[in-house]
Structure formats: structure tokens, C-alpha cells
Symmetry: C2
Subunit: 371 residues, 2 copies
DNA sequence: CTGAAAGCGCTTACAG
DNA sequence: CTGAAAGCGCTTACAG
């Protein structure tokens, strides 16, 4: 049906795609003159330039091949983003989408593209693509400490910035104070008077474990963000006189409503039932609210739920979700700007912490009188 | 502060980044042996291979530079996506996000990356980046007929697929039957008994015009999707005995809640007031509902609203939005798979139309008794 | 099991 | 205003 489908570039009646040299030969000029026609018009008579373009059109020469240009210049013109999971999951995660929006804006402002490196499922690391990706530098987003994907990225020797996790010596870091932000969330519940808690967290380490995580597992978590948030929760509860060792921490393999729902089924089955659940993401928190609804529990009358991120959906959830706000767009934009600065061989700081704030909405309230 | 920030690749005590040749020289072997150490281990004794890796480590050689590999092989390892606006807007548009999710999944399944080409604001076309982007082919998404950005993409001579718009001779197309889908939406309102309509549409042509679009402007719209949907609305209303020429069609420069709200303020000020509004996207429709709420109008009692796309938010809007469903993820995945097929020099069809369906929810009902 | 040569497509000094 | 040469970093036949 379609003509382009038939044109095999390397087999088309022996006519391989035209090259700059071929155009030059055809006209009896040098290749550099053709190059100048495209890149430095002022070094050329207008007439010759026009003749060159005519010949290019006739030979179907598509203009200078950017691969040649890049090899020569050493510059690709794109920032790379490495995500800790399959790429397609990044687009399901509102926090990641906002983050990518920020990075893309920063790249775009410099005329750079954004290249999303093909990922691999959690628990099945594949770093081969990283060595083959054509970019000028990497934003490494949300990767576990010691992940082979991280090693591969750093080994490329390109400028890099890590975001949220991990922190790597000598590589600029953008994130928030996860411990303090989590602490504020838990303090809010302590102040409301809650004494019985449950926690629903996304993965602690990339081994895809599901279920209650004991304190040893919490301490050894290789996702820094998870580790820090649990530390923040624990600190606030301990300060409020609640024994952390009795708080069930349910670990989900990733962050989604469905997984939050599953987790809540376990956590809410505890006897006596928790009156408050702290989640490490809004997605998980929404799943917890769903599970509560299914059990006929009212949020916040029977159960208080706190999320993390303040994604757009949090404000329109039923009830609106109390959560920790962070600016994912700005996080991405800052990471992008820092990477650009590195490309320009400017110095950057080691650590950039963005502000967070607790947003109290309708999903939290005092614990029920009759437990 | 940071060591990496200090390392200037071209100036670091005269030590430029090591190359394959340098590693080879250091060991007294040929460059191709070093190449084989990385790419064809079986052609090498294990011992020599290890010696090569040791030397590489010592010289801080990061492994074969993919730019060299790509120039040699002619393959980049990434699919490019061209969007009709600034990239950062794509991440705000739920339909686009779902679409990108599909494309990324298709790319990832083949080990390919996804490169988002830096865009330019609507009404200010800049195609220069397209000539410089390193990709193996383009998915051209939602671009107006004759857009210079489209020309630039096609001139690269790489495989390409267009999505939604435009349709280009000889280039595979993925989309829906926009006319039929829009017709179904309008027929639903006709069947409910509505006689007075308003339409809120995203841009008709990329010249950033805002306000009521007359029939001449509608016919000459260079965004095919807008043109087709208006045709569908018009056909259904005409068949229902409603005069299209009396229906105000408000054109927004782009698709967002805020713009839908602005549009609705004009459309709902008409005397007599429309009892039903057809929007060309869910974003716009949500803005219309917002404007109605602000005027104290009840949806659907005073005003029926129909959207288009069935983005995730549509189902949880208040009231839940009646809309035309289409599968944006599958649209992206199909486009990605087709582009991959083209890279593999397989034939593809000219046109792929995905199914649509009207989803009737709470935002539509019979017109009010007392107008 | 290893190598010398050619070439992927381009542009930057350096000349004239 | 235009050119010859060198080189960006790599890998594929082809030999041995």
C-alpha cells in the first residue's frame, strides 16, 4: 500500500541514501562547501548555496546527518532520564509525570530533547541499554542504592544528577528532606490523638517483597526514600509515646491504588484495628481509602489516612486527601537545569533540597471515640 | 564542592577521555580486539579480555562510545516523538500522557528508547531541532496539516507514522473515526431532546485564534481532528433538525480546564442559553462544568455536557462526565509498533482506525422543562 | 585467536 | 569565496 514501506534504504536499486560528499561530487565542489551551505550560509554566495540545495533536492539528500555532526562535535543534544522501572510505568505515576514535565521544560529551554532510557522491571535489572543511549548526560530518578543501572550510568562518565535517590558521592542530588516531611505527617496524627497506627509503604528494596516488613528489613532498605520516610514516621510516633515496633509496616512492590488496597486489607484486619494509616504515596493512600470504603469504614470518622506527594488527584479525592506536598515539576526542572549546567561545565552544589509542607484536608480527623 | 563538576573533559591536565584506540595502544593490541572484548567475547581469550578491561578501568575508558557505534551501524536505538506544542504541555495533557505510555511500552519491548523532540509553542513553529535529533524514526503526534515541523520530519527520510493528524500520503496513520465518534456524541444529546447547543473546541488552526469560529473558519481548519469532530457534530444536529449555523462554536487555543471555563462563559451567556454543550476534549468539558457551577447551573439538570477522550479523571469528575471513549494507550502502542515494523522494513497499512464508544455518565440528561 | 584497512558522515582549523 | 586534509570513535568484512 504505502510507498515508504517499500523503500529499503540499503537496497533501493543500489541508490543508497545520498550523502554530503555525493552532493559535493555531483556539483564539483568540496564537501565542506556543502556543509557551509547548511550551517554557515554567510561563507557562501547565495547563488552557489541555491545550486547546492537544488542538487540536494534532486538527489534526495535530507541534509547533514546528525550522527556525523554529533560524532564530530561530541554533543548529542538530549538529556537522558533513567527511571527505576519500566518506562511505561512512569507515565502511570502522576508524581513521575509531573517530574518529567519539569525536566522536559528545562531541556526544551535549551533546545535539548529528552530521551527516556528503556527500563527494566523492578527485581530484574538490565543495564545494557544505558551504555548504548545517545545523550549528553543523565538524570537518574528514584533508583535504589547500588542498583546496577546506576553503576552503568555513572560509568558512562557523562554529567549526571540523581533525584530522590540514591545519593552518590560527587554527583549532584535533588530531593526533599524525606525524614522531616514524614515526621510532620505523623506528628499531625499524633496531635489528633491517634494511638494505633498502620503504615503502607512502597518498596524498601528492589527485590519485590510484599507484606509486613520487620525492623531489620526497614533499616536495611536500599531505597533511601522509603528508609527515610519510615524513620520520620518512627521518630514522630516514638516522640508521641507510640511504640514503633508494634506498628505494622506493609511493603508494596510499587506505588499504585490497587496495591494500596491490598495492603490496607491486611493492615485494617489487625485487632485492635488501627485508627490511622500513613502511606508513602498518594496512590497508595487512595487505595487505602478504597479498602476502608469497602469495609464500611468512614474516612476520617473511623479511619484517618495521610498520603504523600499531593498529586493533582489528591485534592479531588473523596474525601480530599491530607498529604505532604512537594513540587514535582520544580524538582524535575531543577534537576534538568543542573544537568544543563554540568554540560556547560559549570559548578553545581552537591545537594538541593526542595521545601515540603503538610496539606491538611478531609481524610484526617480525631480517632473514633468507641474503638 | 563536587569533583565531577571540575573535570573538564577536554582540558583535564591534557588527559582527554580515553578512547578504544588508546586502550588498544596501551596494551599493544589492535582496536578491533578491544572492540571484540566488549561486543564479541567469544572471539577472545578470557585472559586477554580481562587484561583489556583492567586497562580500560585504569585509563577510565567508559566502554565503546555509542556515537561511534551508531555512525557505523546507522542505528540509533530510539524512537522520536514529535508533539505539536511545547513538550512540557504534553505532560499536562492526560490524553497525551496515556499516548506516550503506549509508545514507550512499544519502544521498550524492542529495547529502544523514547526521544521527545523539543517543541515550540503553537503559533511559533520552530523545526530546527528536528533535523538534529538522533532517532531511527518519528511518531508525529497531533500536528496540523502543512505544519513546517511535519515537513522537517518527513524530509529526514526516516520511517514515520502520524497519529490523529495529519494524514500524509504514503505515511501510515493511526487514529479514530473522529467524525463518527463526534456524531455519536451529538446524537445522544439529540435523543435526549436538546434543541439549543453550544460547542467548545480546541484549536482549529495553529494561529492561536480565540473566540467564536464561523463556518468558513470551521471548514478551513488545518487541524484535521477539530475539523472532523465539528463535521460530526454538525451532521448529527442537522439530522436532528437543529440548524448548525446557529450553534456557537467557541475555539480555544489549546485544551485545558481553564480555557474551557473561559469558553463556557461566552457560550452560556447566549440568550436563550444552550441546554447542551459539546466539547472536543474532557479537559475542556471539565472547564465547562466548572463555569456552569459558578453560574449556579446544575449539570445535568440545567445543562448537559459531553466530553471527548475518557481520560481517567472523567469518571471521577462531579458529576461523572459523559464522553467519547478512545484508548490512548493502545493508540500509542500501535503507533510505536508500526514504527518499529517500518524500521525492520516490514510493510504496514496506510490507515489504522481504533474503535471508539460513547460512555454515558451523569453529566447528560434531558433538557430542563422551563427554559 | 588476532590484525591492517576501510569507511560510517560530518566539520574544524588551516591555507590560499 | 572555496578547498584538501585530518579526525571525531567505532566495527565489518577480509586475511592470516
Amino acid at each position: 500500500m504505502c510507498s515508504m514501506g517499500r523503500k529499503r534504504p540499503n537496497e533501493d536499486d543500489g541508490k543508497r541514501r545520498a550523502t554530503m560528499t555525493r552532493v559535493a561530487e555531483e556539483l564539483g565542489v568540496s564537501a565542506m562547501t556543502v556543509s557551509n551551505a547548511y550551517n554557515r550560509p554567510e561563507r557562501l554566495s547565495a547563488a552557489l548555496r541555491e545550486r547546492i540545495f537544488e542538487t540536494a533536492r534532486r538527489l534526495e539528500y535530507p541534509g547533514p546527518n546528525p550522527l556525523g555532526q554529533s560524532l564530530r562535535s561530541g554533543r548529542v543534544g538530549a538529556l537522558g532520564v533513567i527511571y527505576d522501572n519500566l518506562l511505561s510505568y512512569a507515565f502511570e505515576d502522576q508524581a513521575a509525570v509531573s517530574f518529567l514535565r519539569g525536566v522536559s521544560a528545562a531541556a526544551e529551554a535549551e533546545g535539548l530533547g529528552l530521551t527516556l532510557v528503556p527500563g527494566s522491571p523492578r527485581g530484574e535489572r538490565d543495564a545494557t541499554a544505558i551504555g548504548r543511549t545517545l545523550v549528553d548526560g543523565f538524570v537518574v530518578y528514584s533508583v535504589a542504592d547500588g542498583d546496577p543501572v546506576l553503576e552503568a550510568a555513572l560509568e558512562r562518565g557523562l554529567p549526571a544528577v540523581t533525584v530522590d535517590q540514591p545519593r552518590v558521592e560527587g554527583v549532584s542530588f535533588v530531593g526533599i528532606d524525606d525524614e522531616a516531611a514524614a515526621r510532620a505527617a505523623a506528628e499531625h496524627l499524633i496531635e489528633l490523638g491517634h494511638r494505633r497506627y498502620g503504615v503502607v509503604s512502597f518498596g524498601l528494596s528492589p527485590d519485590w517483597r510484599v507484606g509486613i516488613a520487620d525492623e531489620e528489613r526497614q533499616r536495611s532498605a536500599s531505597y533511601r526514600v522509603s528508609r527515610s520516610r519510615l524513620e520520620g514516621f518512627a521518630a514522630a510516633l516514638a516522640a508521641g509515646g507510640v511504640s514503633w515496633s508494634e506498628v505494622p509496616v506493609y511493603e508494596c512492590p510499587s506505588s499504585s491504588k490497587a496495591l494500596g488496597r491490598d495492603a490496607a486489607e491486611v493492615v485494617l484486619s489487625r485487632v485492635p484495628r488501627p485508627t490511622a494509616v500513613l502511606a508513602t504515596s498518594d496512590e497508595l493512600a487512595q487505595g487505602v481509602m478504597e479498602a476502608a470504603r469497602e469495609r464500611g469504614l468512614s474516612v476520617p470518622n473511623d479511619l484517618s489516612v495521610v498520603g504523600f506527594d499531593d498529586v493533582p488527584e489528591a485534592a479531588i479525592a473523596t474525601p480530599p486527601l491530607t498529604t505532604v506536598r512537594q513540587d514535582h515539576v520544580e524538582k524535575g526542572a531543577l534537576a534538568g537545569r543542573l544537568l544543563v549546567a554540568r554540560l556547560r561545565e559549570k559548578e553545581t552544589e552537591d545537594t538541593y533540597l526542595l521545601p515540603t509542607g503538610l496539606v491538611v484536608r478531609g481524610s484526617t480527623g480525631p480517632p473514633p471515640r468507641t474503638p
